[in-house]
Amino acid sequence: MAKLLIVDDEVDVREFAANFFRKRKVEVITASSGEEAVEIARQEKPDLILLDIKMSGIDGVETLRIIRGNDPAAKIIMVTGRKPEEENAFEKCKELGAIDYVHKPLELDELEKIVFAAL
């Protein structure tokens, strides 16, 4: 079974997204912060990571940098809001090796397609 790590500091987002993918036969693990995500990514080696950009503590961009630094093969999709500062951050994420990004609010079909294409 493919393994997906969902990183978001909002508990409702984590739970909803986790349920959504579990129903679709994906093994889901979650992390509530960048720090936790770095640790879990190292131990669990997920096939794909869904990473929220805007988080308290170390943010998504920094988390991406660290995880990719530890494991250059890590596949990461960024989740961004519509705010300009978050949209601009995506250029940086691409340089750091993120493979794709999705915008909140999410069309769940689209999210599903992007995730399954990457798994």
Binding site: E10, D12, V13, E15, F16, N19, F20, K104, P105, L106, E107, L108, D109
Partner: protein, 387 residues
């Protein structure tokens, strides 16, 4: 206990009218549904600008919680199409979409393969959000939103009166949301007008500064000093200053010298002290300013500041020689700010005073030229290091 849906609907409609904030309204409606009908959760997908319906709120005691603004459905989403697209409207019987009913419908031989296909896809969308019933909300022909309801307590079926209640509620909700949106738009429009107004005033004020070279920046300094004084003054005289006073003062500060537009540049920009005739001409500027602004009815209170900012507390000022409390407070405040700025600004024929000397001068003319209470407030601001 049975719920009297007709009564609930009436009371809901009543409170909806009172709420003008679309987001608050939607939360209120969802909360009411969850409480009265006892469903696991309820959410509302609301049409936002463009092609998206955004899940605005979703809550409930036991069902899934989806954070606001996390999920959306675009207009090509099957569940949206089935309610929006006239071709598919017959599938929903113009009303509520109940999961169980739809499943039954799928075995109906009269439906085409294409119709069955979209029904299946719509059901799949409902399943994503754990939805048992979908209630559309229309305004005229437009789909404003979709109410998504979870399962009922103990997985009971929805009764007919409950479904009717949802439909009636949805149409009330559509109206209320539409009203709230219109109200919001109106407010934004007013904000815009207000900004346009203040920018126009600033442009007018800039016209004076452009003409009078020696007082460059004077207008904006007097305006901000005046507002500082008024806010400090309000701390001790709460009843005399409110928000609308500050707005008028803002405008009056910007326009206090607008009458100088009518003074010849040879006088305004003269390289030396004015002679008697020139001084008389210069003294006309408050009246000229008031005359320029009088046609603008809304500026009535601000004009007082323009017209009387050269009156003196002891009655020796101009244009009317008003005395003491007969001088409007708005003018008395501008007068102090204006005097201070004039004293501390360099002129070609004299250097400006230092702040300390200017404060000394303010104290000296307090009760003579200047309103003593306002002058005292100004001195306090200085002592508090705010000037």
């Amino acid at each position: 206990m049975r719920v009297d849906y007709k009564k609930e609907l009436e009371s809901a409609a009543k409170s909806m009218i009172l709420v003008h904030e679309p987001d608050v309204l939607i939360k209120m409606i969802v909360r009411m549904i969850v409480q009265k009908v006892k469903v696991s959760h309820a959410g509302i997908l609301l049409h936002k600008n463009g092609n998206s319906y955004v899940l605005t709120v979703s809550r409930g005691p036991s069902g899934i919680k989806i954070p606001a603004g996390f999920a959306r459905m675009d207009t090509d989403n099957p569940l949206i199409r089935i309610f929006r697209d006239p071709v598919y409207r017959s599938l929903t019987n113009g009303g509520v979409f109940v999961c169980k009913e739809v499943l039954k419908q799928l075995s109906n031989k009269k439906l085409s393969a294409e119709q069955k296909e979209i029904l299946k896809k719509a059901l799949y969308q409902m399943e994503i959000f754990d939805t048992a019933v979908c209630v559309p909300s229309y305004h005229r022909q437009d789909l404003l939103g979709l109410l998504l309801l979870g399962k009922k307590e103990k997985k009971k079926d929805f009764a007919k009166d409950e479904l009717d209640f949802f439909m009636a509620l949805a149409s009330d909700v559509a109206m209320a949301i539409r009203n709230a949106q219109l109200f919001k738009e109106l407010e934004n429009e007013l904000d815009k007008k207000q900004r346009l107004f203040i920018h126009t005033i600033i442009a007018l004020a800039a016209a004076i500064d452009a003409k009078d070279h020696y007082t460059h920046g004077h207008t904006s300094r007097v305006t901000s000093l005046s507002l500082e004084i008024a806010r400090r003054f309000a701390q001790e005289h709460k009843d005399m200053i409110n928000d609308s006073f500050l707005e008028h003062l803002h405008v009056a500060g910007l326009l206090h010298d607008i009458g100088k537009i009518g003074i010849p540049e040879s006088i305004l920009n003269k390289q030396g002290p004015l002679d008697e005739l020139e001084r008389q001409k210069m003294k006309e500027h408050p009246m000229v300013g008031a005359a320029i602004l009088t046609p603008i009815k809304e500026l009535e209170d601000a004009i007082l500041g323009v017209k009387y900012h050269h009156e003196s507390f002891d009655g020796s000022g101009y244009p009317q020689g008003l005395k003491g409390d007969h001088i409007p407070l708005i003018a008395a405040i501008i007068s102090v700010a204006d005097t201070f700025d004039a004293m501390t600004t360099d002129r070609p024929y004299r250097k400006g005073l230092s702040k300390e000397d200017a404060i000394g001068e303010i104290k000296r003319v307090s009760g003579k030229q200047l309103n003593p209470q306002v002058a005292q407030t100004f001195v306090k601001l200085y002592e508090e290091g705010k000037i």
